[in-house]
Subunit: 136 residues, 2 copies
């Protein structure tokens, strides 16, 4: 399989500590935002989210594409296109074995996204949010 996965989310910089650009802690640089937006954009589609959840939740850790397509009323090429976008975003990877391609989650990428969206430890919810939510 050719590999076009993006190097995103600070990989290659200070990777060892699982450090993230920190969406919630400092303004993102423009290039960080471009890379990160590509991953979120890959998640911004219901079919891709369902595919990702089917792949990620499969016991055994991998899914044959032949087990994914029957869940959708979409053509095989359309499903393959969605899978390609998830792969290019670094969210899944795959391997061809004989007739079929097998997919699995790249948990490092979802871990990084989770980290990016996590507030610094111990930071309380601002009071504003609660009151604003109630007033709206």
């Amino acid at each position: 399989m050719s590999n076009q996965e993006l190097v995103v989310l600070g990989q290659g910089d200070d990777d060892a500590g699982g450090c993230c650009p920190g969406l919630l802690t400092a303004p993102l640089e423009e290039d960080q935002a471009v890379d990160l937006a590509r991953v979120f954009k890959a998640l911004g589609d219901p079919v891709r989210l369902r595919l990702l959840s089917m792949i990620a939740s499969r016991s055994g850790g991998e899914v044959c594409v032949c087990d994914l397509t029957p869940a959708f009323e979409l053509s095989q090429p359309t499903i393959s296109h969605h899978l390609k976008l998830l792969r290019q975003a670094g969210l899944i990877d795959c391997e061809r074995r004989g007739t079929w391609v097998y997919y699995w989650l790249v948990p490092e990428t979802t871990d990084r996204l989770a980290g990016i969206l996590t507030r610094p430890a111990g930071e309380p919810l601002p009071e504003r949010t609660a009151s604003a939510g109630a007033a709206s």
Copy 2:
């Protein structure tokens, strides 16, 4: 401010425990995927990510729109459009005071996204990922 925020991510179902559809633990239902995709789609744009990070990281917790626009080479209406999409996704909220509109993060939404993207506690990275990454 009119309120068109989406009710997403399982809010209204079993909200008390901070429970999430669980992107990584079970196949998403179609309607869950539609709701969730809308939030990720809002994050799938570099300008919106930068706006969100600027709002989220501001000490004091809120930002005047007049402090956001100078960071971008974009018109005020364009910035306002991006802010509206973030607000409709439930990621930020706002209030008009006199001339200006003030924005703040809705941390409950980012908390939920982080939860959705977090693997069940203690689940190790599959061996496949490491070897596949090295081979690709």
